[in-house]
């Protein structure tokens, strides 16, 4: 037997306070599990997510970053997620252009009522990242033990 440590990805989820964070709460209340690899950071709105935060997460050792916000049209602040959508579209396209695995970043719109979708999305994302393996292309070796 090879002594290979099972790869457990590190996943950062930026969730907007009004929809997706509440969706995560609902997933919790409904005991809809998803892997502990996912750690949530609460932001007021998806439009608060700066591309720098996403790169920062990769630098610090994240293997996948997901941003979840209200469904387009349902933003608590009317338009935040529309701006976020454009920003992330461009950022993800750029990361792809640089040859950084496209699948490591994801955006989902999850409402406060969609606990099941939250859980399902996170399960899927963890599977995707586990299959992709460790983030090598946007890593900062100084931050690795």
């Amino acid at each position: 037997m090879q002594d290979v440590k099972e790869f457990r990805p590190k996943i950062v989820a930026f969730c907007c306070n009004w929809c997706s964070y509440a969706g995560a709460d609902l997933a919790g209340s409904a005991r809809l599990s998803y892997p502990a690899d996912v750690k949530i950071i609460r932001v007021p709105c998806s439009c608060r997510v700066n591309p720098m935060f996403i790169l920062r997460a990769f630098q610090r050792g994240a293997d996948g970053v997901i941003m979840a916000g209200c469904h387009p049209g349902d933003c608590h602040y009317t338009s935040g997620n529309y701006f976020a959508r454009r920003r992330m579209t461009l950022l993800f396209s750029m990361l792809d252009y640089l040859g950084i695995e496209r699948e490591r970043t994801r955006v989902e719109w999850i409402s406060a009522a969609e606990g099941a979708k939250f859980s399902k999305t996170m399960n899927e994302f963890v599977d995707t990242i586990t299959a992709l393996g460790e983030n090598k292309r946007l890593e900062d070796l100084r931050c690795k033990k």
Binding site: M52, R86, G99
Partner: protein, 323 residues
């Protein structure tokens, strides 16, 4: 052309319309042209130059110069007028303090291309009828102008001036099929692994001299986040591949929708990194996803990241493995 420009500069200085002239100043070799502010007629007569090596985009200097006392004359090539407009749109320059003269441009030469041809020891260059006769200590060489034309000029997007008070020479047109996205498309067609290798090969040469940022007419921040010790992301050197990527991705993102594709970043990079390919990717994506948008074309236009449509493309649909 230079004569006409010099004449107008002297006239405008003479009649008090302006008290300074922002142009290009001759150097030791014919190609080492320095942007300069001329304050007197003598200085203009002595040093003012406009030739095929005057590639530098002067618009950014107006951020400082237009805030000084009196009006300044500036000469703007077609591509510079886009930066000029963009700076106006962002309230970075004060239009009233500027007298802008558009000057025609048929593409600028890149001295690096002369060097790449093995031409060295240059003592002088004569330019005539699309041919350069280069005098060197090793003998004379002749090259066709187009052979040494800067890459950015070979894919010039517009020979049209989008802003000026006065125009010298002929007015050109927007170049419809400028092919400027060819290389972007080529990269897009590669596999992610190939793209990754390509960019590693390029960005790993970065020495973080900040020339790209400091020359960029879109990078006019009072203090760049990368220089601000309180920003949490300040960097002084590209310590490793991550920081190289981080700096260039974020810089490109910060100028996304604002970059006019003037190409100065790639021109000044001492390490010859094709940085414009990052900006052009964003420009191409904006065009594809949100409709044609040329920063600087119309200072009233809403920038693509400052607006949205309800049915915008989803991030998941952008990029990704090509089918």
């Amino acid at each position: 052309m230079q004569k006409m420009m010099e004449k107008r500069a002297l006239e405008l200085l003479g009649d008090g319309t302006v008290n300074r002239v922002l142009g290009w100043s001759a150097g030791d070799f014919i190609y080492d042209v320095t942007p300069a502010v001329f304050k007197t007629a003598e200085e203009v007569q002595d040093k003012f130059l406009y030739n095929d090596f005057c590639g530098a985009n002067l618009s950014k200097y107006l951020v400082k110069e237009s805030r000084k006392e009196g009006k300044i004359l500036v000469f703007l090539k077609p591509c510079d007028t886009y930066s000029f407009n963009q700076l106006i749109a962002e309230h970075r320059i004060i239009r009233e303090n500027i007298y802008a003269i558009g000057v025609e441009c048929f593409g600028k030469a890149d001295e690096e291309k002369l060097r790449a041809k093995g031409i060295t020891g240059i003592t002088g260059i004569e330019m005539k009828d699309g041919t350069y006769t280069v005098h060197t200590v090793y003998g004379d060489e002749t090259v066709k102008a187009y052979e040494v034309m800067a890459d950015r000029c070979l894919s010039c997007k517009s020979k049209k001036h989008v802003a000026y008070d006065e125009l010298l020479g002929s007015e050109g047109e927007v170049v419809e099929d400028c092919n400027r996205f060819d290389m972007v498309e080529k990269l897009e067609a590669m596999t992610p692994d190939e793209r990754y290798e390509f960019w590693r090969g390029e960005l790993s040469r970065c020495i973080r001299c900040n020339a790209c940022r400091n020359i960029c007419p879109a990078c006019t921040c009072e203090q760049c986040v990368f220089d601000n010790p309180n920003s949490g992301v300040s960097q002084k050197a590209a310590v490793n591949s991550f920081e190289e990527n981080m700096f260039h991705i974020i810089r490109a993102f910060h100028v996304a929708g604002r970059c006019t594709d003037c190409g100065e970043c790639s021109r000044v990079c001492p390490q010859h990194i094709p940085l414009h390919l990052l900006n052009r990717k964003f420009i191409k994506d904006v065009n594809t996803f949100y409709g044609e948008y040329q920063a600087g074309e119309n200072p009233e236009a809403k920038p693509p990241l400052g607006k949205y449509e309800k049915n915008d493309i989803e991030p998941g649909e952008a990029g990704g493995a090509k089918a």
